[in-house]
């Protein structure tokens, strides 16, 4: 009876958003007379940073400070339509919609500024600090606040913009049946090291090393936060949690936090993450999206690591001590594989 260490690897290609075209999201951007901007969305921030990242995208596109943008996701009844925050689609789909809306709003803002400064709008630029000035002549300047006041009370213009992002429909090639299921893929590779106790069947995480390629990381700290948390969910799906332990028999399922198993703070392991940035051609500022991909590679990597440690192929999740122990017994004992 002993504890065996094993190492497993998994690589994934992860499509961003829903497949085969469509998958729309809308955004509306408007300025208040104070010169601050509001982004209206129905896309919900679950804690993953939807609000922060759309705020950044809007501010960058408008050319105003990020403090001057407020993102309102209050109500999907009154807000512009969104398919939702899932399928790793938020940054990519909603970000593109916000970018389109902010671009349109910026056009009106520059026209209004041009009218105030009595110049051509094409000769104006934003300084990112809340001012608009004539290119090459920063003293010919007006604040976005004064532009907003002039547009609202003098010119009768609404500084606003509409945006929608819709993926073109994927056509089927009648000859080959080929189609292009997604326009944008993220990639990941993860190595998991585990320790399997062949007496109890328990699997302990030893460490994880991963690399994620997710386009441009618009907010690197939020990306890292999501990857760290998502990997924990991966461990949980691999080794602990299930709402239906005796599927398809619904009996004896967990009913609450006391019965629903999850890894606690003592079950985690060191996790070294490398973020690789290859900007996506159709992403907002090159972004794809971490999303579900944070958790996905952990499951197969852990299953492979268990095989490497004790020689059993686990094909049902979660990989509980009972399943590991039965599998080890069925093959007549642990059979550690070559160390990788």
């Amino acid at each position: 009876m002993a504890k065996h260490r094993g190492r497993g690897i998994a690589s994934i290609n992860y499509p961003i958003g829903m497949n085969l075209g469509g998958d729309p999201s809308q955004a509306l951007v408007h300025s208040n007379p104070s010169g601050k901007f509001t982004v209206s969305l129905s896309s919900i921030d679950l804690g993953q940073g939807m609000k922060s990242v759309t705020r950044q995208i809007c501010a960058e596109t408008l050319g105003v400070p990020v403090e001057d943008v407020y993102v309102d996701t209050a109500d999907s009844d009154t807000g512009p339509h969104c398919m939702g925050s899932f399928a790793s689609r938020g940054t990519h789909r909603v970000g593109n919609a916000v970018m389109a809306a902010a671009k349109e709003a910026r056009g009106v803002m520059m026209e209004a500024a041009a009218e105030e400064l009595e110049v051509n709008a094409a000769d104006l630029e934003t300084d990112g600090r809340g001012n608009i000035h004539v290119k090459g002549a920063p003293h010919r300047s007006i604040s976005t606040k004064d532009v907003a006041i002039a547009a609202q009370f003098k010119q009768g213009k609404t500084i606003s913009g509409r945006g929608i992002f819709l993926v073109p429909l994927s056509e089927v090639n009648p000859e080959t049946g080929e189609m292009s299921p997604a326009t944008c893929y993220a990639h990941a590779c993860l190595v998991a090291e585990v320790e399997v106790d062949d007496e109890t069947g328990e699997v302990a995480m030893v460490r994880m090393d991963s690399a994620y390629e997710l386009g441009r990381a618009l907010n690197p700290r939020l990306v890292e936060q999501q990857l760290v948390g998502g990997a924990w969910m991966g461990i949980s799906h691999a080794l602990f949690e299930t709402p239906e332990p005796y599927y398809p028999d619904p009996a004896h399922g967990p009913r609450d936090f006391v019965e629903y198993l999850m890894p606690g703070p003592g079950d985690i392991c060191p996790h070294d993450i490398a973020v690789l940035e290859r900007p996506a051609a159709d992403g907002p500022f090159g972004a794809k999206g971490p999303g579900e991909m944070c958790a996905n590679p952990v499951l197969p990597a852990v299953a492979n690591a268990i095989f490497n440690a004790v020689g059993v192929r686990m094909d049902e999740l979660p990989i509980t001590p009972e399943k590991v122990l039965r599998a080890i017994k069925a093959q007549g004992g642990a059979r550690p594989q070559a160390r990788r």
């Binding site: 804690g47 990997a231 924990w232 936090f257 703070p265 996790h271």
Partner: protein
């Protein structure tokens, strides 16, 4: 049902209220006092979202009868900051990105405060043990552990 008169200190302020028999402290805090910082997660002591300090000790307010805090001092997350100044733990949680959806955060902060009040420079294992009664579904715990260690004795934590 007869109501019981109850007096206790709530974040340094005296409060007096009448509670029905059997009402738990979480309901008294949220519905009778209006302090919404302790969260209702499971109502049976399984998640730690309702954690508060009673006379400096960590308790699950959902499993504490309101009547038992008569004459005692109850601290919640609402009392953690000092005017406009955030508590070092709150600042560390922000700096370490230790919250995502935020639902577990009040309980995590109170569990961390209870730890640091009695052990200002805890080891990593001691931090893990101190928050092991609190469930977090978003962060993977790592940023929370790091935040508590960073806040401990101004960052002079043992390995």
């Amino acid at each position: 049902m007869t109501k019981t008169a109850l007096q206790f200190r709530h974040n340094g302020r005296d409060v007096a209220l009448f509670v029905d028999g059997g009402v738990n402290l979480l309901v008294a805090l949220r519905e009778l006092i209006g302090d919404m910082t302790p969260k209702f997660g499971c109502g049976q002591g399984g998640c730690g979202a309702c954690s508060v300090l009673i006379d400096g000790e960590l308790h699950l307010s959902c499993l504490t009868l309101a009547e038992t805090v008569n004459g005692r001092a109850v601290e919640t997350l609402d009392g953690l900051k000092n005017g406009p100044n955030l508590h070092p733990l709150q600042r560390a949680f922000m700096e370490q990105f230790a919250a995502q959806c935020g639902y577990c955060t009040p309980g995590m902060l109170m569990a961390a405060k209870a730890l640091l009040d009695r052990n200002p420079s805890p080891s990593r294992a001691e931090v893990i043990e101190a928050i092991s009664g609190n469930i977090c579904r978003c962060t993977g715990y790592e940023p929370i552990i790091n935040a508590v260690l960073a806040a401990a004795s101004g960052g002079r934590a043992r390995a």
